[in-house]
């Protein structure tokens, strides 16, 4: 099993954090993982993306030419990186701010209105990225969603620990709303 993710957006959307959660989760499940960030010099805004590879065998290179899963949290990123998604791959689009729709059926497209779900269902607009993470985990089945509890405990300590309950709600939101 090997899955390659390219998670893209602008600085401040929490795109790198989504990747880190997948990476830590994979480590807790004893999988091999690479996480490689890329961002511009801007302290706020600018582009931000990370490449995550999860595998049950050692990973030769953290730099894939094509990926299985592409997340586009903003439209410039969608335009820039769509070419790296392989045919038949999973495409996650942040439909809260991206209006573009994808023609044809060469990709499995998931339109996730993560900001609205975060605001209305979770009650915390800042957890939009965690809602998107939940959608990715649910569709790709790369990790057991319950492992997020452990990764949140590990990464959100001290002052950040108070966000764990809302983040857990956010990461389960997509799956729960689907089954409604």
């Amino acid at each position: 099993m090997e899955k390659k993710f390219l998670l893209t957006g602008f600085g401040g959307q929490g795109v790198l954090l989504i990747g880190q959660m997948i990476a830590y989760g994979a480590m807790y499940e004893d999988l091999e993982v690479t996480w490689m960030p890329s961002y511009g010099p801007e302290m706020r805004g600018g582009t931000a993306n990370c490449t995550v590879i999860v595998s049950d065998k050692p990973i030769a290179s953290p730099v894939p030419s094509q990926v299985d899963v592409l997340l586009a949290m903003n439209e410039p990123s969608l335009n820039k990186y769509l070419g790296q998604l392989k045919k038949g791959g999973d495409l996650f689009i942040n439909s809260s701010i991206i209006e573009k729709k994808i023609e044809g059926d060469q990709y499995n497209v998931h339109y996730v209105d993560c900001a609205a779900i975060a605001e209305d269902y979770v009650g915390s607009s800042k957890s939009a990225n965690m809602v998107m993470l939940g959608a990715i985990l649910d569709a790709t089945k790369v990790l057991d969603p319950s492992v997020m509890e452990k990764t949140f405990q590990k990464t959100m300590k001290g002052k950040k620990a108070k966000f764990i309950p809302s983040n857990m709600k956010a990461v389960n939101a997509w799956r729960e709303l689907k089954n409604v």
Partner: protein, 252 residues
Amino acid sequence: MKSIFEYTRGMNREINTYCPGCTHGIAHRLVMEALEENGDLGNAIGVSPVGCSILAHHVMNVDMLEAAHGRAPAVATGIRRVHPDKVVFTYQGDGDLASIGTGEIVHAAHRGEKFSTFFINNAIYGMTGGQMAPTSLVGQKTTTSVNGRDERLVGKPIRMAELIATIEGAAYVERVALDTPANVRKAKRAIQTALEVQKAGLGFSFVEILSTCPTNWGLSPVDSLKFIKEQMIPYYPLKVFKRPLELMKESK
């Protein structure tokens, strides 16, 4: 209807990626306005630093070069000597100029190189994530002085304008701030004076500009302006440290 103020053609408005409340925007504009007013937009060559304003060449509509970290004065020396007819300036932050680049700036002043340096002092390292700078204040909390700068361990902040003013080759040295409209106007006049000194061939000109960094100070844009006034100016006084005799006759 007569236009009494327009956005300077020296600024590219579409590409400005600085944080909300960052005074790089103001500082860039003042330099570009001064160049435009002198008719020098087509005659200027700037050198951008490493730091948040590494992107200055996206925003400033003049020919520009990037230099390695701290080396802008060395690059500007080369440019000015090869192009004696051009208006040459460096635009540098406190990491670039007061840390890794202290050798270059001191010697550019020492040789009396005829370019102008605009030094953005915001008492912190911006682009790299809010670390303590040589200009960070005693007690200031940064990512590498989490309990506040301790002068017993790392000394007091360095005052670059004062230091440069002791060097003979520095013809004009002033410190200004961008915290109020009145101070912004004074900063503009200082920048214009620096360019005049350069054009008159009188030596090296240096303007230190106290600026904000709301993102890494953890303050709102408005509180950041107060920080300049209440915390920075008491330690970094605003004044003209040195002025060529030729200009002394004009009282500002």
